[in-house]
């Protein structure tokens, strides 16, 4: 059920990609995230688990400043990406989001063709010098999204015409096309059936080679299957953070144990 220990020891030595220090998030008067400290490693899959409303999605959205689009949301504390504060005034959130890509809970392909969906990011950021360059990026990204074989004959059909699982893999391909350094996934499989979920999980495992992946999930099996590191959130607090195998087999905090054994949630 868990990754073998050999892999674990390998990842623990990796560099810190994102470091959060004393992060507080407020929605109006609600204190949604309380004093969270966490270090997310490069080339690792980190899972955020916890009951609904515990703040894991909120915290995820802080990592690429998607919370900026919500008027009443306020973030305090430091979040460092490669040792640079992403909430610094000099940081352009638009540039940041190009580096920290995001895949959402519900597949949200644009009402455009499959090709244009994937080419969207590269076009905006000028990643392709010419048409053939762009074609190449699109193909590479669709391959990385493990959907190339299914769509290569209909690249100019609308992306909204795909099935749910295909749409989600298209969205992942779209995020990958921008060549981010970190990929945030907010419950990417919650709208998918088990088969599509399996495909996406395989994909996440492959993405680990090139990116730091952070995934929010409600499925503890999924967290155990795909992640090397797990963070357990409860009522806005980061209760426990550590190696996935350790969290699931030998949690330190009693709340973590209660949650993974199904007594709270």
């Amino acid at each position: 059920m868990y990754d073998e220990p050999a892999l674990e020891s390998k990842v623990t030595n990796k560099d810190i990609k994102i470091a959060a220090r004393n992060v507080q998030v407020f929605y109006g008067d609600t204190h949604a995230i309380k004093d969270v400290n966490v270090e997310i490693q490069d080339k690792t899959v980190t899972a955020f688990i916890g009951p609904s409303g515990c703040g894991k999605s909120t915290f995820l959205r802080c990592l690429n400043r998607m919370n900026d689009t919500i008027d009443i949301c306020r973030v305090e504390g430091d979040i460092l990406l490669d040792s640079e504060d992403i909430y610094d005034k000099r940081v352009d959130p638009v540039q940041l989001r190009a580096k920290v890509g995001m895949v959402f809970q519900k597949p949200n392909p644009f009402p455009k063709s499959i090709y244009d969906n994937v080419a969207y990011g590269p076009r905006i950021h000028g990643l392709a010098k010419n048409k053939s360059d762009l074609d190449e990026i699109v193909e590479k990204s669709l391959r990385r999204g493990a959907i190339w074989d299914e769509v290569k004959d209909r690249l100019h059909a609308p992306g909204t015409g795909l099935s749910g699982g295909q749409q989600q893999r298209l969205c992942i391909a779209r995020a990958v096309a921008t060549e981010p350094e970190v990929l945030l996934m907010d419950e990417p499989c919650s709208a998918l059936d088990p088969i599509a979920t399996g495909q996406v999980e395989e994909l996440i495992d492959e993405l680990r080679d090139s990116y730091s992946v952070v995934i929010v999930t409600h499925s503890m099996q999924q967290a155990a299957r795909v992640s090397q590191k797990t963070a357990f959130f409860h009522l806005g607090n980061l209760v426990e953070y550590g190696e996935t195998s350790q969290i699931f087999t030998n949690p330190v905090d009693s709340r973590t144990e209660s949650y993974i054994t199904g007594r709270i949630g």
Binding site: N64, M66, T69, D71, V94, Q95, L96, R97, A98, K99, G101, M102, V103, F104, K106, N108, P109, F110, P111, K112, Y120, G121, I124, H125, P158, T160, C171, R174, A175, T178
Partner: protein
């Protein structure tokens, strides 16, 4: 009995039915509403509707058709006497109606009773002073024929009213009683009320549709009449319009389209940008103030816009583009011009475009924006490349609806664009539109059966077809692409 009293009586019967059926339902459920199929008020409503609806329908139909029946019956009496032209007949009928009104008044005030009125003879009684007493002045002495017809009129009306009263009240009582008797714990009153509600809704929808059909039919009849007097080819392809002998529609259509296009050139960018600002950038505080403020524009009557065109915009444009103006060009000779009407009409359409577009942009799922922003797109890139394409079908629909309004607009054109029908490219010249010509053709003193007057119907029909086509096209576009992003 006057209709008001009938209404009060059936109202009282309905209320009694409501209370009674409710009580009966409660007692048949041994006082516990859980023993009933429906809530007690449904039994009451059922009884109330059973009494109200048939009686109200009969009352309305009877009131509408009784005068027609009496009229045709009385017309026979007059026509039997001598052959009359349409005009003479309608004059004679007016007299008869006046006399009948006087006689009815006499009965109502108790001056005479019905038998006395019926026995009246023109050669014996002097009817005229009697009518004068009742406040009805008759031009000449009443002829036996007219009195005869009027007596017939009064008699039929009296019988008709009596029958109507009896029938309506009987229906109301019987309907209520029927529903009352049916009321029992197992009767499905809720379903019955639900069916009646649906029937009422269907009736409301049908009235709207039937009205449209009626309007079209009435226009078609007159349009066909017009084309009998004036060749259709001259109408559709004639390039001259003088309102009397030359009735070519092209200059009017050109004016209409020209002014509408200018209006849309003004309204679409401004309205669309306003909508984008309001829905994507404005803070809730700004939005809550600016959206209603913009929509106030939509509440201004178009005649006020017309005054604005006449008194403010026209002279302003004249100062800018007229001789000795700001630009030193002499393009404009009078304040009334295509551009004046077009600009003001554009201002009128801004809230229309912005309000519809705003709703459509808001309907684009937030997930689309998140997806784009999450890829590192700026808000304006997101709007341009994701939100707008997703909202485009709806926006096109909104623009086409605005275009239909521009084409149908009258008052602004009357005051702003002048009255000269001409085919010209110059937007600083006065031109006129289809709608304003319809008004002027019908408000003149032309005979209503002449081509000059009937052309208004052909114009109206042309306009109707154009706007209908635009609306259908708009609906088609909106429907075709509506669910693309779901």
């Amino acid at each position: 009995m006057p209709n008001l009293w009938i209404l009060i009586i059936i109202g009282v019967v309905a209320v009694m039915g409501f209370v009674g059926a409710r009580q009966r339902a409660l007692s048949s459920g041994q006082g516990d509403i859980r023993n009933l199929h429906s809530l007690p008020s449904f039994y009451g409503t059922n009884a109330m509707l059973a009494g109200l609806i048939p009686s109200l329908v009969v009352l309305a139909l009877w009131t509408a058709f009784q005068p027609l029946v009496i009229q045709s019956s009385v017309t026979h009496i007059i026509e039997a006497d001598q052959e009359l032209s349409d005009g003479q007949l309608s004059l004679a009928m007016t007299d008869v109606r006046r006399i009948a009104t006087g006689l009815e008044l006499a009965i109502e005030t108790g001056r005479l009773d019905l038998n006395q009125v019926m026995d009246m003879r023109a050669d014996v009684t002097d009817v005229r002073p009697l009518l004068g007493e009742m406040g009805v002045a008759v031009g000449s002495d009443v002829t036996p024929r007219d009195l005869d017809a009027a007596q017939r009129f009064v008699a039929m009306a009296q019988t008709g009213n009596l029958l109507k009263t009896v029938l309506v009240i009987a229906l109301s009582v019987l309907g209520t009683a029927f529903a009352f008797v049916r009321t029992s714990a197992v009767f499905r009153a809720r379903n019955a009320v639900e069916r009646v509600t649906m029937a009422l809704l269907i009736a409301a929808a049908s009235i709207a549709i039937l009205t449209t059909v009626g309007i079209v039919l009435s226009m078609i009849v007159n349009t066909v009449e017009f084309f009998r007097l004036y060749p259709a080819t001259d109408f559709f392809f004639g390039t001259r319009w003088n309102g009397t002998s030359q009735l070519g529609v092209l200059p009017l259509l050109w004016g209409t389209l020209y002014i509408s296009v200018i209006a849309l050139i003004v309204a679409v960018p401004i309205g669309l940008f306003a909508a984008i600002y309001l829905s994507e950038y404005a803070s809730p505080a700004v939005r809550s103030f600016a959206k209603p403020a913009l929509e106030v524009l939509a509440g201004i009557p178009t005649i006020v816009y017309g005054l604005f065109a006449l008194l403010t915009v026209g002279p302003f444009l004249l100062r800018v583009f007229g001789s000795g103006g700001t630009f030193g060009v002499d393009w404009m000779s009078g304040a009334t011009a295509v551009i004046t009407a077009g600009v003001v009409m554009g201002i009128m359409l801004i809230p229309f475009v912005s309000s519809l577009s705003d709703d459509i942009i808001n309907a684009v799922p937030q997930a689309m924006r998140d997806g784009s922003l999450g890829l590192g797109a700026t808000p304006s890139e997101t709007i341009k490349q994701v939100v707008m394409p997703a909202a485009l079908p709806g926006i096109v629909g909104a623009i086409l609806l605005a275009a239909s309004r521009a084409i149908g607009e009258t008052m602004i054109v009357v005051l702003g664009a002048g009255a000269a029908a001409r085919l010209s490219m110059n937007p600083f010249e006065a031109m006129t539109t289809v709608t304003t010509r319809i008004v002027s053709q019908l408000t003149g003193d032309a005979d209503f059966t002449s081509a000059q007057a009937l052309v208004a119907f052909a114009l109206g029909m042309t306009l109707f077809v154009i706007t209908l086509a635009l609306n259908v096209f708009a609906l088609y576009i909106v429907r075709k692409y509506r669910e693309q992003y779901d």
